[in-house]
Symmetry: C2
Subunit: 497 residues, 2 copies
């Protein structure tokens, strides 16, 4: 991928990491409000540069202006809403057990809260130049947790990344943040990423992108002398299960909904529905034919960059050439350079269960419809699927009630389970889970969207037998920051008398 | 290590894992109260077998009866207190954001809670045959989370483990738990452990023991096609920092306290204080001499098994033979076979900083006192230390106030920070953190003691756009289980109207 920026040298990387280590010692002591102010200042710097940033991002990603403007607003919303969550403080999981001196043996006073891990290295996504990149969710969560951030710019939108980095640095300067709180590293070669992950000052990694990229970071992190946590969100095929009752009731509605979801943003979402599973029969045939007819009418659009367009065409051809795979429909509009042509395939469950190639993500406007003999075979598909960010059930209440085992199996493979909707569209709110069993992510116990994502970058520290005056404010008897705490097993905001 | 039990065959391992997978589908749907009842039934079965189990454990571990009786009571307390926490339900982290249909675009209803990962394989510790073994903290946390458990019996107390396993199986039978909810696997060879960790049905691992053992499990787990989380608690040297004011005020009190802590249970605790750091001078010399005099008077005691006694003597000799290391004191009572002789060494900070051998745990009644030129060198020791379960400050309020940077550096390396106490003694309560930065554990974001340990074995699952009647009880509008939830960013037990 072309970039006008030189790869950072080992010396530059080392300097950034050592400065971030110095900054960590200062920033980790900052109050929750100080961290939140910094995050809000970044949001404000971004807002002031909307036109320039969106324009540059358009030129680098081929994404249309309304889509990028939405994403840009979302990025500011993330920073502001995670700032509010940071200040609210319940993510600290403050737990207090007061002393019982006359117990035998005496019970000590113990108080625990989350503290930051240290410098977080963030790798942005090609498909979200703002919301999952330089000042995106990972960066916002790390700052809230009390961690400095070093971003490895995505080479496909390096200039956008540079502008966003400058906005972060302006906010840092205005708020007198410690030098090294944020650094921006360019690098088109994987050696730069490897150096960042392997550096001894790096304490955690956030990544959004391909399986190959994320798994490489995960392996490097675990090969370190001191392994570190990596949260890599590596995509998903987001299976959609069409249950018979619902399919019968709403074939045409489902077709409309899914023709849109499959092709939204040229299918370049990690929650794109790449697999649709139904039971053989007249309804499913109608569904396949109608979905194909809709897809044929949708014009191809330009993909993020030539590399992604090339991968899409290769992966799609590979999938379509597998034994027993039928090409149902391809967009009837001629394809221009670097465009992705909307495509629907179909195969039997038998073929799917026996061919791992069909389980792989085809990143772009592509989906394959799997035909099962019956609901037992549909459950076999669910239990054989790898981990997913999302699964979707198109089902009536009756369908759900009559297929408890199937529904349980589908629950077991995903991080978010949608009923009668589409997986595209990831709401930014506390209840969101954007994560899932491997290979959707490297650790299903965390999320990269929503304020719970802060916890990826923090760890508990217990203080035993400390004088009240020496404790962090969040753990003092008087609860001066007014946060929710668990005191002797009770949730409360009360002082301890 | 001798055991009367044959290593499990690959077929036996596979059968246990496949049965646990079947059990998972049933047990994961059990209510929190059903899980808690099962845990309480195990505690009750243990209580009914106290005399037999303690007797067998005494013969296998050489630990004295009062120590084992305490540990046995603690094990039942863990099961009962984690059962209470399981039922209370706030560990589920229920988060609800209700729909806003008239927003543009409409905001969907999203509700999230923790669900179990799947079968957990537990490896018990040699030094805690009850509390960190077969029905110990890891097993209790896994059952609370909704996971079946497969225990790999520790060969050094295989018969104790067998008795405890039978008690768990009796409780499972009485409460009509699904077959496969618990399995007990014998194996003296590491091949058995490796097969368990590599089995595709294993979804998480809990371990307490040595660095070599824990790191091997961690590496196997990450080499799987589907990597899985391993929480391995691998021990620690638990540094104690003697600050000048406190040392001057209380030399003899600190000596008494630490002579006891270093030799408690023949030093066979993962929180044993193996490193004491002070500043050169008359007070530190007095401390070293007095500690040596106390240690000389303490008679050696028998260690857990011949292998541990042999390792203690080898590791101690190796440490004492390092350049610039002085042997301060060795117990003056003659040592019998398999006993560990209380020992104090000393070295300069310069020697310590330049010799990684001195950073290694000597598991047993041994501690080394490090002499720093000044408090700046003490901070250098703190920043060069690997991750620790605990650190301890012996300090006056003035000492803390005057050495903020030192205290911050010490906070940064440990999971629990004790002020003016000893690290031995791990209270079972919600505020406890028994974990710490690598190599103390493989993931500093979790704990193996306290009900927060349940979260090691659970992951969030979000339900989007589900009908109230189809949601799990914990997420229904009426909040029928009465748990704490975060509803539209507010903590509440209220119903949603």
């Amino acid at each position: 991928m072309a970039t006008n920026y030189k790869d950072a040298s080992p010396e530059e990387i080392n300097k950034a990491m050592e400065q971030s280590w110095q900054a960590f010692h200062i920033y980790r002591k900052y109050s929750l409000s100080q961290r939140a102010d910094f995050m809000r200042a970044i949001a404000s710097e971004l807002e002031n540069s909307t036109d320039e940033m969106v324009k540059v991002a358009m030129s680098e990603t081929n994404l249309p202006e309304p889509r990028l403007k939405n994403e840009f607003t979302r990025t500011q919303f993330q920073l502001k809403s995670y700032a509010a969550a940071c200040e609210e403080g319940s993510w600290l999981e403050a737990r207090i057990d007061t002393a019982i001196p006359d117990r035998n043996p005496p019970k000590p006073d113990i108080r625990k809260m989350l503290v930051p891990l240290g410098t977080v290295v963030v790798f942005g996504a090609s498909n979200f130049p703002f919301a999952y990149s330089t000042a995106g969710g990972d960066t916002a969560c790390a700052f809230a947790a009390g961690c400095p951030v070093v971003v490895k710019a995505h080479p496909a939108h390096a200039q956008t990344s540079e502008l966003v980095a400058q906005a972060i640095l302006r906010a840092a300067k205005k708020l007198n943040m410690p030098e090294g709180i944020f650094a921006h590293i360019h690098g088109a070669s994987s050696a730069v990423g490897q150096s960042l992950v392997m550096h001894s000052r790096t304490k955690a990694v956030g990544f959004t992108g391909s399986y190959i990229g994320g798994k490489a970071l995960f392996d490097w992190a675990n090969q370190r002398k001191e392994p570190i946590p990596v949260f890599a969100e590596m995509g998903s095929i987001n299976p959609v299960f069409l249950l018979p009752g619902k399919l019968k009731d709403s074939t045409q509605d489902i077709v409309k909904m899914y023709a849109g979801s499959i092709t939204l943003s040229t299918g370049q979402f990690c929650t794109n529905p790449g697999l649709i599973v139904g039971v053989e029969g007249e309804e499913l045939q109608n569904f396949i034919t109608s979905l194909g007819n809709e897809i044929k009418k949708i014009a191809p659009t330009t993909m993020l960059h030539p590399g992604i367009a090339k991968s899409y065409n290769q992966n799609r051809s590979n999938a379509l050439s597998q034994e027993e795979v039928i090409t149902v429909a391809v967009s009837e509009t001629a394809v221009k350079e670097n465009q992705g042509s909307p495509t629907i395939a179909s195969a039997s469950a038998h073929a799917f269960l026996n061919n791992p190639v069909l389980h792989q993500e085809v990143f772009g406007p592509y989906s394959i419809v799997i035909r099962c003999k019956d609901l037992i075979e549909m459950r076999a598909v669910a239990t054989h699927l790898e981990g997913q960010l999302t699964s979707t059930l198109m089902a009536t209440t009756e369908d759900i009630r009559n297929n408890e085992d199937l529904v349980e199996s589908i629950k077991n493979i995903c991080g978010r389970l949608i009923l009668n909707g589409v997986p595209t569209g990831v709401e930014v709110c506390l209840s969101m889970q954007h994560g899932g069993p491997f290979p959707a992510t490297t650790d299903s116990r965390f999320t990269s969207v929503g304020a719970d994502g802060i916890k990826r970058f923090a760890r508990p520290l217990a203080f035993q037998n400390w004088n009240d005056e020496l404790l962090p404010d969040e753990l003092k008897n008087s609860n001066p920051t007014g946060i929710w705490r668990t005191v002797n097993d009770d949730f409360t905001k009360n002082k301890i008398s």
